[in-house]
Symmetry: D3
Subunit: 338 residues, 6 copies
């Protein structure tokens, strides 16, 4: 039986140059609508949950296009406010091999979401209709008004007994100089409210300033994550270690920490078609496992397979059905399905 889960976050319009063209070579773009919340919730809706987005979109043709496409992704609209004037945008130029992909943002601080008035959402009402509320560190980087919405929603959810999920997702470019210092108090608030946290050892070291004796990433992870969980009262922590290989492949290993124990997926190595949003597929897998009562071992393998498939999929938003993820957990790459 599916759960009711809502994410709070901005919808971004992704405008992508065709093939491997630069913006100064092409004259067309393809567009879609995504964002951490969009990606996580769309995947969970595909897994059978009722997925909502709590966001604000302009009441103009771009907002209409965004809502139509969110519906297409299976996201229910009843907590989507309309107002303000703009939608956040980013332009994507696909890299190839030695040439990295490039993302160029439009001015998202003026977006409908980031200029929402204090009373834009009725969080008490929303929280009463949910089993889980999901938040993300990208939203935390926006401005005080948005952070205030976020905190009020998280507290309302907590107050009504919903689970709170928080993805640390620290983006240096959004916080600017002395970013870790600026970000720390806000992250601490969210960690204090969260039941399920997406993070790894870097968040503990840099954001929370925790010291470590570990010298490898694995040692640092196993030392710091339990400490973070203890301090902030977090039930489940999960995340990935990724390495970018020279040949258009990535390697990824997921971890899940719960009840004092670490569980790991295999290290998966796979060809990458579209890297953006793959982390959100991992999150969706962890949440689905937790909400569905999977064994932790299965959850982390499911999440890693979901992330792997998301790298093979066009666009930011995961598109794999549960049966496809389960097959990817157990089978090697196969021939055509027919």
């Amino acid at each position: 039986m599916g759960k009711r889960i809502a994410a709070f976050g901005e919808v971004m319009m992704r405008l992508q140059a065709p093939g491997y063209d630069l913006l100064s070579q092409a004259n067309t773009l393809s567009y879609s609508f995504s964002g951490t919340g969009v990606n996580v919730i769309s995947a969970l809706a595909r897994f059978g949950h009722d997925g909502y987005l709590v966001t604000r979109l302009p009441d103009n043709p771009l907002g209409d296009a965004a809502t139509a496409n969110l519906r297409k992704l299976g996201i229910a609209q009843k907590f989507v406010a309309r107002g303000g004037s703009y939608i956040g945008m980013y332009f994507l130029e696909n890299g190839f091999g030695a040439r990295p992909s490039r993302v160029t943002y439009s001015n998202r601080l003026e977006s409908s979401f980031n200029t929402a008035p204090a009373d834009a959402y009725d969080f008490a009402d929303i929280a009463g209709q949910l089993d889980v509320a999901h938040f993300c560190g990208i939203t935390l980087a926006m401005n005080d008004a948005v952070r205030s919405h976020m905190l009020r929603f998280a507290k309302a959810a907590k107050a009504r007994g919903s689970l709170v999920a928080f993805d640390c997702n620290y983006r240096p470019s959004l916080w600017g100089e002395d970013g870790y210092e600026k970000a720390k108090p806000f992250y601490e608030q969210m960690l204090g409210l969260a039941d399920i946290v997406m993070m790894n050892e870097k968040d503990a070291m840099y954001l929370l300033g925790m010291p470590t004796k570990g010298t490898t990433r694995e040692e640092q992870l196993e030392e710091l994550v339990p400490e973070v969980a203890r301090i902030y009262g977090i039930a489940v922590a999960a995340g990935t270690h990724r390495s970018v290989n020279g040949d258009n492949t990535h390697s990824l290993r997921g971890y899940l920490y719960k009840d004092g124990r670490f569980h790991y997926s295999d290290t998966l190595t796979f060809a990458v078609y579209d890297r953006i949003g793959a982390g959100d597929a991992y999150t969706s897998g962890i949440l689905h496992g937790e909400l569905s009562g999977f064994e932790p071992e299965r959850t982390v393998r499911y999440a890693a397979a979901a992330a792997m498939l998301a790298h093979t999929t066009v666009g930011d938003t995961p598109m794999a059905a549960e049966r496809e993820i389960v097959r990817a957990m157990t089978q090697a790459a196969g021939d055509v399905e027919r």
Copy 2:
């Protein structure tokens, strides 16, 4: 021999839905870079003048794409400043017949152009290298900083003996409530500096608040334009009367007022493919005629034919060569040229 002419104005990225799709139907866009200054200067460069744009673009892949495309249009780059973070954008959904085209703007107030610092341009240096400086009422609507740039440039041009051209181009949506009142003092300043003005009777009536006894547009035009020219010391005034017919055609008649006399083109009726920017083609024709010493009669016919052809051309920016405009002045629609 070509003249040296620069326009001051913002470069806009035009993002257009394919065919007659709405943004909520399509998933691709074509893009190009335009703006009143871009359109006028590109046309004049095609007519054999040295055309410059005085503007500011971000130093990122979107700014690179814009500058590459301006070069493609024949616009010299030496007065283009780079800095700031964003480029103004608008989304275009093509109408068909009874369904009008729709334009949706991004937040252009945060653009590199509209956030340029006071010292972004060395107007004294620029003005010394020009024969004509061109300005537009759209720019006047932006903010005080931009208006201050505009006034300083116009004064510097005037001081060095360059001609000043000003296109009234009043856009109600940019000025908001009580727009005419807000706009009037700025328009009066620019009209006081201008030698060549693009306008019609509506500008005199609504912007300048001038009374008229005329009841038809033609009577009002012939009463008010000479009055405006007298008050503000304007040598040449020009503009068009347009009517939108029910069958995807428009009718357009150009006028030119100079030395106390009105000159008119025929009323041209023609099928319309892309209406945006066609007014700028008219301006480019007037300026080319004046800079090249055409008889006023020829100038107004040339400008009207240039405007007509711009309606048949993809994109905002006129693409017709002088020989094509001359042919359109004299010939009916013809068979394939081969």
Copy 3:
């Protein structure tokens, strides 16, 4: 306040050759998902009602694509059954001027909808959640199993006090030889259950075999429609007279018969971009007017304007918002909206 309305009908995949290419010239197609029910319900959802489709789609990637696109159109999925193997398809080659458009069907009789088992839908449950149920003569032409579903749904709706809407929509090619004879009993059953009927004088003359003394279409309409309404107990009848002009324009006049009186729209003449589905826009306008308590005069004008705009829109499915239809009722074709 919106009403709850469901349509019973097949979802068709429309596969369209690009531009004016024939299938033997092109090598790409664009696709979308439509059908009378899809078109009517999507429009009503856009007007603020809760719109549902009662249909059956295969549980495969084509069915997934269909449901995603129905959601995008604003159609709620809770009455959509999944099962069977195929989706109905049609291929469209756009005509131009003297060359008519061509439609080629795939084998829709094997579609999931047309092979649904007797118990595919829980009509009692569905009917209890509706204000209006909508049916169409195209569905009536399929096979006995579908006709049986249709009748059971209509009776269940009637039994629970919902309004029943029926669009005669007789398609000769679907009924084959002696089609009118074959169709008559089924049409009579549906007319007997319907409150709102889309029809014109031809349905009365050919389907129902009613004689008329009228010689013009208008006389025949005014003679026969009241008679049909009387016989079958129909509260509202509505429809259009269309003529195809030689120059890519159509002329259309809508009528609405209610409480013993005829109401007509003006005869609208307009350029046609995509003719398919425009009749469904008219239906949606009639239903919206009736459900919203419009005066009949306003309803018929609203429906005619909705139909006109649907001819200017890409695809089968109407895309106009209420404010756009209202503007089209009152204004001539205008310049770009910006």
Copy 4:
């Protein structure tokens, strides 16, 4: 029962800018393969005849693409020689309304066809397998080698009792200065061999230098064509009068002169999508009528309808089937066919 008909002529690669873009705006082209012979023969093959092309194409990937596409159009390959290095090309920019279409040629004089050696074709063998051989004035304009091929083929066909069809198709740009003078002797040779000639009064006046007392085109036609037929022993002459209207429509009236009598089609006025090659559709209609024993009255109406439909079709090559032409002869523009 179909006849065997071969055309002698060059295959051109048509490279077309998308939509209404100029070559300096676009960055893609669509391509197809055409030419007078291709167009006429493809249409006749569609009408049920065995159609051949006698031409020469390079033995490289462009030649492979050409032959594949000729096969697609129904043209048999057995008289197509392979050799040489190049294929003739032309670039097409579509005009719109007041802006005419533009054709830019590549260097066709170096094409495989125009550089074919004297023994490239075995005309005696080819002629023995034909009922009709078709020639065109465009080919006549190329060079002496090609003209020599052409004459030898026409004589061989004549010698074996095949019909010889010749389309005057005088293109001023191909003959250059004093073109009529240069062309006259070659035209006279071909007219002397031809049974069926496509021409109108202008060919008689300018190419053949015949005086006329007529003042209207019609008078000139009726005076000169019988005279030409008499002098050169031509059994059938046919052609069209075309006028280009201001609104994207053309008007066209076909004539057929045979057995001392003129037969005319109605003057057809129609929207034009792609004008190039429409004259070849007319020719194909005349030849089909003659080969099939139509009454002259029917032939000229069939040919005019074929020409009209070719204007509504993408590409140079007619695509209409006989049943579509027959319907266009008898019906007004209709609604969607489904």
Copy 5:
């Protein structure tokens, strides 16, 4: 000197989502026409043989598109019947890396081919004009009527001394539950008529139920194929062993059994662009080698290289010329050819 070869089989319309999009993400498709017979015959025509298809296509725009495209592929039409209503279709979503490609079929059982009446083809006449007749196990899976056509054609070919080629090509999804049992008698009939058979050890083990002591595929192959050849009187057997590697490459080794001896190609490992139809390229290579009197060693290497190149080619149908295959047999991957 080329041979005359005809394949009996269905033409399928392939509708492919662009790039790596899913059907629920895209809104366009590219289409082409293929099928085992199409692929094998097109390749053989490219190698210089006269290639025919014996099939049935609807007499509608889809059938017209199919025949035009078959002609483009070099396939002669004289044995193609027209009739029935539908064409078989399949939708292809390209996989990437860990995500497999997906094929979704339309209802091919209602296709013109699969509903052809008993007298649709004049097999006696056809067989008299051939050197080889080719059949495929996919066709065998359709229905009794088609199987009856197939058997009659194979017997007629045999009776007239043509070679009979049969590709086992067992597709589990087409035969359903207990498929091997159902299929066995039909396969035995075809094997009994065949001279050249495409198969491997799996066909012997599962279809024919033959026991083996071999434990590796190679041992099983070398044990079973000679046994099958002996039992059914088969002159030549050939096939491949394929393995799908994790990195978008496949490895493939071809075998040819003739005159009591096995011949093998090298194991080729290569990047895969489009896997579908590559087996047919292998078949075409075997048949070409046999028909052209190649040494078996050369035939199997030629066939394997043809198969390898088919994996690098867009679409189902092999496009490589003989000289390209020969080069691929002898050279490593090279730089640009210019």
Copy 6:
């Protein structure tokens, strides 16, 4: 501070089949304008130099498109002559894996560049405005008139103290039989004038006929290049060794010989997207290093990284900025830049 550099060479129109289609499969092409000179100069303009092309283009829509696109690439037009009738063209079909890319040329010998009259360019005037003049062996292969232009330009540049750069770039297909012999005297002339030469050991061995005792490419290079430099008085020689790997990757190592010493880049191995023009990126890196006073070690690494990135870029022309090349010199492939 940037230098002034001009290349003498032909502009080619590149017409590319989409994706991995053959010309006989596709019906669209993308086009761009390139050439050794275009590629080198565009890259140098992007690095901050003033870049010119000395060439000749037709005064027609293709020439207009070429000049617009050259401007877009940052190439100044003042030395571009207009005249003649044609532009050189080549068609590109992308290979995949085991299938090599194919290039098919149009008749470039008739191009405006290759038919330029003796006085087409004022070399004395041009040379006086330059710091460097660049030449290429492809141009040397055209005809006597072009070779005469080339020599006069090189001498004029030398006379005015400009550096002369020469890229040997020997293309066997352009010189035909006994090519090395034919080419040798022309190469010797250019080498005698050149200061900077792009070459490797093969040019010395085959073009100049120099003997070597070396058995590896490296030994041959280190023996022959110093000898060539000594004989012809060359200050700087540079070039690459490339190997094409089986898996869509190439390996490339650059060398730079100067002041009696060899400097090498690392051997870079990288995935290849578009191989054409990558050698020109290497040249641009060498020239930029030399003009900017880089240490030779840095120059060769910069040039190799520029070449590597050019393989990952759409089109012939390098698009990487200096900062991107510098990053590629120092970093491994990275994650998305955002």
